[in-house]
Each structure stands twice: as structure tokens, then as C-alpha cells.
């Protein structure tokens, strides 16, 4: 027996020394962890048990039975019973079911144990443990301790069975069961003398437990961290090699499930205002693509709150709606992490274990969150990439369309950059100046003759800045082009683009027309001059002496000749105005209306229309081409007289309106229908209004007036009422 007990002591000492060293490392690693703390208490009590046993036996050997053995025996008893309680506490903390009440319960148990000890001491009752004459320890009065044992070890055993999935290390489970088994050996018949075996088993189990905790708390996290880093690196690498969102998602669900050791995984993405199930891995995917409103189901809740949800038992813990059919029947543990990109949730990543499979721990949740973050970045990037690709395609497409248009048009189009180097020239432009495609980048001045550029470049640039475009006539070879230049690029101008229209033929036509007008006027005016001179001579010769008929004839001829003169003059005036050159001088507006009225007074008299004029006193001077402006007003007066019935009245006025001078010509004539107000200013347009068919004219009058007014930076408007009269306004800025 001596040998056995010595051997046991050695074994016990060594194992407990090991266990102690594990505890020291654990405490040093993280003393604040509850598991570590409970383990420390547990180890302390086991040590107390063993130390008690060791001291009792040693003292017995040295001094024999007596009072000195009493204290070690109490230590033994306290350690033995306390370790049961501590085991229960440790188990509870390992399966993570401790709570505030649980701590109170634990404290109460220790107090009861202590008071029980005091009671039996006071009552003088025999100690539970005794030491035999042969020096072997045995449990004499078993009932109270058995109660403690059954209560706490039983509870620990229950916890182990109930939450067996929460302890993933088998060695730890084995250690815990072994310890419980070891303690039970102590309750066997004292005659069997098995208490020492119980102590040895307890010590060995403690060593196993400490090794298990050591592995769980230190080794496994370290190893897992390494494999996680590896795994995440792999996931990132494989995501990086994919561009399409769908393949990234498929990769992600598979990798997530495999890395975490889940049975299935799924990804939901936010689309419009709901979630859509995008990809699943080893899950029923008949609902692929279906919509899930935000806030519903685990994924919906995760997206809404932005927080991870971890469930150990889906059916029991999840009270919300279900995104998967039969989820309650099949799902065990679930973790769902939000996919967050740029602060906004874009979806959720979910991993699922089946009902009897493992549970997920914090490390798994962390890993899933890590993957989710990576996934969010990858999805966002791939979406951007997809958007970019589509945009590029659209740009390419519109570029092609534009190029086709430019290539197929007959009008030359040339684009240059800010340094006046050629960017683009369509075939029409290239053939125009003999450019080849390789000319791109050469200075435009080397490609085109000076006659192709605006005379005043400074003015051209100013116009383009102000109006974004500038039009001028460019001469290339023997042809004339109307060149429309516009800025290229907004808001910063990167160059210019010019579109050329061949107007050679138009110019030629215009020249011919001007030539014809000149010829016509010359050819018409000479006979007119001859006729008028002869009428004047005739007038001198026979007007006084002739009969009424003769006089009337002479007057008629004279009037008709004057009318003809007016028509020719109208055509020529318009031709002159096209040049737009004004002989500007300062002039009081009153002079213009007075001489215009003077010129027309005879015509008014003939038509039996009274004519009147009125000029305000405060009129400013105006800068104008006196002849032209007077002609414009004469035209208005002539028109007014023509369309005013006999006995009517025409009034010409000049008034001041702020800095403007407003000329007005008012008649009591037939009026102009509103729909004609715009058209009457057109060249050769003649009102086809009833009641005025008898009025003759070239139809040039008002277009001439408008041209004059426009040349003077003025405005012309009119008010008219059928049957009542018309009033024309000309506004000219004052000086």
C-alpha cells in the first residue's frame, strides 16, 4: 500500500503540476476570461483535495493517527466537494449558459458547504473522511457528500449532454466525464479502498481538462486565425480573378460555407427597395430571385439593422418571418452578416448548420463578418466594373454612330485642339484640302490657306466664348464655304469643331441677283428719268393753258411715274440695307419725323387722309443713319395712308421711354389680323385682307422698315384692331 500511495502521490503531483502550469499560461494569456477564472477555481479545489489527501497520509506516516491529521482531512473534504461545484461551474461556462443567478447559486452552494462543515464540526459528528490504520483514506459517512456530488456532478453531466454540440473538443468532454466518473469511484464501498484511485483519476482528468481548455482557448484560436487569414486571402484572390457579379456571388457562398464549416449558405442583395435571393449553396434554391422586404426574415432584419445575427437554434430562437420554407424544420445554427459598402447595407450573407450539426462560435461570426466585408467590396467593385463596361460600350456605340454620320456627310467637318492641331477631319474635309489620315496632329495653319480662317480671330474667339459658336465665310480654292465653328468640350473648352457648307453656288446666285438688281434699276431709272423730265416740261408748257382733261392726264402720268419711282427705290433700299453699313450721326428724333411727314404730306392730301405729328420735348438725341431711319418712317406713313379709308387720320409721334425713343405711326385704317402680325414683315408679303385689294405696292415696305430698325439695334412692334386701326412702334436706343 505504501508503494501504491507513493506512486499515486508522484503521479498526482506531476499531473497537477502540469495542470498548474497550463493554468499559469492561461491566466497569463487572458486572466479576464471567465472560463479561465472558473478553471482556476476548479484547479485550486482539486489541488486542495489532493493536497489534503497527500498531507493526511504524510502526517499519518510521520505521527500516526491523531488530531494533526484532522486539518488535511478537512482540506480534502472541502476540496473534494468544492471541486464538484467548481466542475459544474466550469462546465456551465464552457457551454456558455452562465448567468447572474447562476453565480449566486454557486456562491450559495459554497456557503452551504461551508456551513455544513461548521455544523458537523460543532455537532461533534465524525468527519466524512477517515484514515485507516493501514494509512489508506476512505469516505466513511457518504450521504451528505453524495448529495453534493449527485447535485452538482449530475447537473454538470446534464449540461454536457444537453449542450454537447457547444463543446467542440472531444478531449475536453472526455476530461469532464472522466472527472465525474473519477469522483464517483470515491463513493464506492470504503472496504474496497478505492478512494486513492478516485484521486488519481480526478488528477488525470484535471490534467486532461486543463489541456482541453488550453487547446480551446489558445491553440485553436491561433490555428484558426492562421487558417482564416489563409482562407480570406484565398477568397480575395479568387474574387479578384472574377468580374461578373454572379460568379463572384457563387464563389462567395461556397467559400463561406466551406470555411466556416456550415452546411449551407446564401447571399441576398438589395435591389430597388427589397432583398433578392441571389445565390445559394447546398440550400433549397427554389426561391432564387424572389423578393424579401427589408425587415422581414433573418436577412431582412440584418439589412435593416446593419447588425450581425447569430442563432444557435433557429426554430427556437427566431421569432420573425422565414425567408426559407421549412427553415424551422431543417435549420440549426445560423449566422447572418450584413454586406456593407460605403456605410450602406447592400445585402446579407448567411450561413446555416442543420439541426443536429455543430453550433457556430464567436470566431465563426468574426470570420463571416470578415468575408461579408470582403464580399461587399467585391460586389460593389464588380457592379462598378459592369457599369463602366456598359458605359464604355455605349460610348463606343455612339462614337461609331457619330463617326458614320460624319463620314457619310458631304459637308466637311474638321476638329482641332487648343493648340490648333488637327484632331479629326471627315473624308469630305480630307479630300477638300488633300489631307491624309496621318495628318492628325499637324497644325491646322499648315493644312489650310489663310483665306480659310476668319479675318478677325480675336472677334471669332470672343463670339465663341459668348455664344458658343461663330459663323464666317471661308474661301478654299475656288469655292466659298459658310464655316460654322463651335467650341469642343464642356465646360472647359478643349478645341473647336468647324462644319463647312459649300455656298459657292448661293454666293454666285446672290451676286447675280445683286447684279440684276443693279442692271434693272439702271435700265428702269433711265426711262423713268426721261419720262419724268418730259412730264415736267409738258407741265411747264401746257398745264396752265390746257383743258381739265389735259391737266388730269398730266397729273395721272406724274403720279404713276412717282409710284414707279417709289417701288424701284424700295427694291434698291433693301439691297442697300443688306450691306448693313450705317452712316451714323447724332440727330434729334423730331427732325426725322418732321421731314418724313413733310415728304408724305402730299400723298396724304391726295388720299384725303389727314396727317399729324407730335414730338415730345424731352427727347434724347439718337445715333442713327438719318436717311435710312427717315425712309423707314416714311414707309410706315405711306403704308398707314394706303390702308386708311378716305377721311381717316394718320398720326406720327416720337416719345421718350427711359433711354429709348419710341416712334409711333397710328392710323384709323382697316387693321391687321393678329395671325398676320409676324408675316407682314416678310419680304414681298402682301396682306390678303378683305377690303384692301385695291391697295398697290411692292410688298417691300415693312421688310425694309424692319431691316432698318434691326440695323439700328432697335425693335419694331405693332398693335392693331380690325376696323379700328393700327399702331406701329419703333424703339431706338437714345444716346
Amino acid at each position: 500500500m505504501q508503494v501504491t500511495s507513493g506512486l499515486t502521490l508522484l503521479v498526482n503531483g506531476l499531473t497537477l503540476a502540469f495542470a498548474l502550469s497550463f493554468l499559469i499560461i492561461l491566466l497569463w494569456y487572458d486572466a479576464r476570461k471567465e472560463v479561465t477564472q472558473f478553471f482556476a477555481v476548479f484547479l485550486f479545489l482539486v489541488l486542495l483535495w489532493n493536497l489534503g489527501s497527500f498531507l493526511a497520509q504524510t502526517l499519518f506516516l510521520v505521527r500516526g493517527a491523531g488530531a494533526s491529521v484532522r486539518l488535511p482531512l478537512i482540506m480534502l473534504e472541502f476540496g473534494f466537494t468544492g471541486s464538484s461545484i467548481a466542475l459544474y461551474a466550469l462546465t456551465a461556462s464552457l457551454v456558455k449558459m452562465y448567468s447572474r443567478q447562476f453565480r449566486i447559486l454557486l456562491l450559495a452552494a459554497l456557503i452551504i458547504l461551508f456551513s455544513y462543515r461548521v455544523v458537523i464540526f460543532a455537532a461533534g459528528a465524525p468527519d466524512p473522511f477517515i484514515i485507516d490504520v493501514d494509512g489508506s483514506l476512505s469516505l466513511q459517512s457518504r450521504t451528505p457528500l453524495l448529495l453534493f456530488y449527485l447535485l452538482f456532478d449530475g447537473a454538470a453531466l446534464y449540461l454536457l449532454w444537453r449542450y454537447q454540440r457547444k463543446i467542440r473538443l472531444r478531449v475536453l468532454k472526455f476530461g469532464l466525464v472522466l472527472f465525474i466518473g473519477g469522483q464517483s469511484i470515491g463513493f464506492l464501498n470504503p472496504e474496497l479502498d478505492t478512494f486513492l484511485i478516485s484521486t488519481v483519476v480526478g488528477a488525470v482528468a484535471t490534467l486532461i481538462i486543463s489541456a482541453g481548455i488550453f487547446q480551446q482557448e489558445i491553440f485553436r484560436p491561433l490555428a484558426e486565425r492562421k487558417s482564416q487569414v489563409e482562407a480570406v486571402r484565398n477568397v480575395i484572390a479568387s474574387i479578384a480573378s472574377q468580374n461578373a457579379v454572379d460568379s463572384i456571388l457563387e464563389l462567395l457562398v461556397r467559400q463561406s460555407a466551406e470555411l466556416i464549416g456550415a452546411e449551407g449558405a446564401a447571399i441576398f442583395l438589395l435591389e430597388d427597395d427589397g432583398l433578392s435571393l441571389k445565390t445559394t449553396y447546398e440550400l433549397i434554391n427554389d426561391r432564387l430571385g424572389t423578393r424579401l422586404p427589408i425587415g422581414e426574415g433573418v436577412a431582412g432584419t440584418v439589412v435593416q439593422t446593419g447588425k450581425l445575427i447569430q442563432l444557435d437554434d433557429y426554430a427556437r430562437e427566431w421569432k420573425g418571418s422565414h425567408e426559407f420554407a421549412y427553415a424551422s424544420e431543417f435549420f440549426g445554427a445560423v449566422i447572418c452578416a450584413p454586406l456593407v459598402a460605403g456605410g450602406d447595407p447592400i445585402g446579407a450573407l448567411m450561413v446555416v448548420a442543420s439541426r443536429h450539426d455543430r453550433l457556430f462560435d464567436t470566431e465563426d461570426a468574426n470570420l463571416l463578418q470578415l468575408l461579408a466585408a470582403q464580399a461587399a467590396v467585391a460586389i460593389t467593385q464588380s457592379r462598378l466594373f459592369a457599369g463602366q463596361t456598359e458605359l464604355n460600350m455605349q460610348i463606343e456605340q455612339s462614337r461609331n454612330q457619330l463617326e458614320t454620320v460624319l463620314v457619310s456627310t458631304d459637308s466637311p467637318v474638321i476638329a482641332i485642339d487648343r493648340e490648333f492641331k488637327l484632331i479629326f477631319a471627315n473624308p469630305a474635309a480630307a479630300s477638300l484640302v488633300g489631307m491624309s489620315k496621318t495628318d492628325s496632329g499637324t497644325a491646322i495653319v499648315d493644312l489650310l490657306p489663310a483665306s480659310a480662317f476668319p479675318d478677325n480671330l480675336r472677334k471669332a474667339f470672343r463670339e465663341i466664348r459668348k455664344r458658343r459658336s461663330f459663323t464666317y465665310e471661308a474661301i478654299l480654292g475656288s469655292r466659298v464655304y459658310l464655316c460654322h465653328v463651335a467650341g469642343l468640350g464642356r465646360p472647359k473648352m478643349q478645341g473647336w469643331v468647324a462644319v463647312l457648307n459649300d455656298i459657292t453656288q448661293l454666293k454666285e446666285l446672290d451676286r447675280l441677283k445683286s447684279e440684276m438688281v443693279r442692271m434693272t434699276s439702271h435700265d428702269l431709272k433711265n426711262p423713268l428719268q426721261a419720262a419724268m423730265a418730259n412730264v415736267d416740261l409738258l407741265h411747264e408748257d401746257i398745264y396752265e393753258t390746257g383743258s381739265d382733261d389735259v391737266r388730269q392726264s398730266i397729273d395721272t402720268i406724274d403720279r404713276q411715274l412717282q409710284r414707279m419711282n417709289r417701288i424701284i427705290r424700295g427694291i434698291l433700299d433693301l439691297e442697300r440695307l443688306r450691306d448693313g453699313v450705317l452712316a451714323l450721326e447724332l440727330c434729334p428724333p423730331a427732325r426725322i419725323i418732321s421731314s418724313a411727314v413733310y415728304e408724305m404730306r402730299e400723298f396724304a392730301h391726295e388720299q384725303n387722309v389727314t396727317i399729324d405729328y407730335l414730338a415730345a420735348d424731352d427727347l434724347p438725341l439718337i445715333s442713327c443713319d438719318v436717311q435710312q431711319l427717315e425712309r423707314a418712317i416714311v414707309n410706315l406713313i405711306e403704308n398707314a395712308i394706303k390702308f386708311t379709308p378716305t377721311g381717316g387720320k394718320v398720326c406720327v409721334a416720337a416719345e421718350r421711354d427711359n433711354d429709348e425713343v419710341v416712334f409711333s405711326v397710328t392710323d384709323t385704317g382697316v387693321g391687321i389680323a393678329p395671325e398676320l402680325h409676324e408675316r407682314i414683315f416678310d419680304r414681298f408679303y402682301r396682306g390678303k385682307q378683305r377690303g384692301v385689294e385695291h391697295v398697290s405696292g411692292s410688298g417691300l415696305g415693312l421688310s425694309l422698315v424692319k431691316a432698318v430698325v434691326t440695323n439700328h439695334q432697335g425693335k419694331i412692334t405693332l398693335e392693331s384692331e380690325i376696323g379700328i386701326g393700327t399702331r406701329f412702334f419703333i424703339r431706338i436706343p437714345g444716346v
Binding site: H522, A533, L537, L572, L584
Partner: protein
């Protein structure tokens, strides 16, 4: 007074001639430029009326220039061709004193003829005024103008213009006053006359017509003659 009419249109030529005859003028009629030029040498008229567009080689402008090479005789252009002011200015630049566009009423025509003759006959201006700064010297009474010592030939209108400006030297003469005093009341609306004649005058008396020292433009108002006290030599 003898008036020569050069016009290829017989009807016009004859009608105008008849009117002038009736009003007491001697009239010479020519049907083209060449004939006009020949007659000018023979007849020495007091006034020439020229059509511009004429067939057979020589047009009115050429005739006008050729006459100006040898005489100050007032010339009145009568054209159907004028469309823009530039056409009129071309005519005046060729040396014409007047430019009338067809058709013109006979009364106005005669009034212009008379005004023109009146202007040219104003040779003996009453004032004894002289101007001499060493570079430009003007003798209004004897109608002599010297520039840098050389005698300069001025047409009657040019001389009248210079005289009016000189009489008002230092003061601005506005367009209308200029028109009225140089050309006559009936010309009051022919605003381009002064402009053309001023530039002709500058070409003849200014050292640098583009930067005049004597005849200065008061923009949109009129012109001013500025006497040069030291002569312009000192400015060279």
C-alpha cells in the same frame, strides 16, 4: 453760262437740255464720254453734267478724272447706277462736285445746277484773310493755296470748304452748317458730302492724311480747323 450734258440716253439729254435752255443757259449735248471730253476742250463750259454708265469705252468717272486733270470746272454727276453710298463716294472721289441720282425732277435739277455755279463763282471772296504758318499758306482772296512752298490745285468745292473752316478756325463747324455754307440749303441732307470732301482736302494739304493736324474731326458733330503756330516742319 454754258452747261455741257454728257448722257447716252438721248431722251434724257434732250429733256434736260431743253429745260436748261428755257432757263437761260447755253447748252452743249454729248452722247458719250469721248465726245464729251473733246467738246470740253472746244467749248470750255462753265459746268459739266455727266452720266456714269455709258457705252463705247469711256465712262463718266473716267471723263470726270480727265477733266479734273486740266480744269476746276464744276462737275455734276447724274447717275441711275447709285445703290450704295460707296457708289456716290466713288463719284465724288473722281472729282465730281455733286452727285444726283436719277430720276430727278427738273426743278431740283436746275436748282442744283444754279447752286453749283454760284459756289464756283464765289472765287472773289471779300475777305483779305490770309493764313501762313510756314508749311501751309492760304490766300483766300487770290484763291492760292501753297503746301510746303508748292502750289496746290483745289476744286471750287474743296476751296470753299477750306475757306469756311478757316474762317471759323478754332471752332467746330457742324455738318449741317458746313453743308449749308459750302453747298447750299438744298444740300442739307446730303450728309456724306462733307466726309468725302474733307478726306480729299486732307490728302491735298495734310502732311499725313491719316493723322491730320489742320482739319480735325469732332466725332458725330463736325469738323474744326486748327491753326499751327510753329508750322509743321518743327514737328518732323
Amino acid at each position: 453760262m454754258k452747261v455741257m450734258i454728257v448722257d447716252d440716253e438721248a431722251a434724257i439729254r434732250e429733256a434736260l437740255g431743253r429745260k436748261l435752255l428755257r432757263d437761260g443757259f447755253d447748252v452743249v449735248l454729248c452722247k458719250d464720254g469721248l465726245e464729251g471730253l473733246r467738246s470740253f476742250h472746244v467749248e470750255r463750259p462753265d459746268l459739266v453734267i455727266l452720266d456714269i454708265i455709258m457705252p463705247e469705252g469711256m465712262d463718266g468717272l473716267t471723263v470726270c478724272r480727265r477733266i479734273r486733270e486740266i480744269a476746276d470746272t464744276p462737275i455734276l454727276m447724274l447717275s441711275a447706277n447709285a445703290i450704295t453710298e460707296d457708289d456716290i463716294i466713288d463719284g465724288l472721289n473722281a472729282g465730281a462736285d455733286e452727285y444726283l441720282t436719277k430720276p430727278v425732277r427738273l426743278n431740283e435739277f436746275v436748282a442744283r445746277v444754279q447752286a453749283l455755279l454760284r459756289r464756283s463763282s464765289m472765287a472773289n471772296i471779300e475777305t483779305e484773310q490770309r493764313y501762313d504758318d510756314g508749311y501751309l499758306s492760304v490766300d483766300l482772296h487770290r484763291r492760292h493755296v501753297h503746301v510746303n512752298g508748292k502750289k496746290v490745285h483745289l476744286t471750287p468745292t474743296e476751296f470753299k470748304l477750306l475757306a469756311v473752316l478757316l474762317e471759323n478756325s478754332g471752332r467746330v463747324v457742324n455738318q449741317r452748317d458746313l453743308l449749308e455754307n459750302v453747298w447750299g440749303r438744298e444740300y442739307i441732307d446730303d450728309v456724306y458730302y462733307p466726309r468725302v470732301y474733307i478726306s480729299q482736302l486732307r490728302r491735298k494739304i495734310e502732311r499725313d492724311p491719316a493723322n491730320p493736324l489742320y482739319i480735325l474731326t469732332e466725332h458725330r458733330i463736325g469738323y474744326r480747323f486748327e491753326k499751327q503756330t510753329h508750322g509743321t516742319q518743327s514737328l518732323i
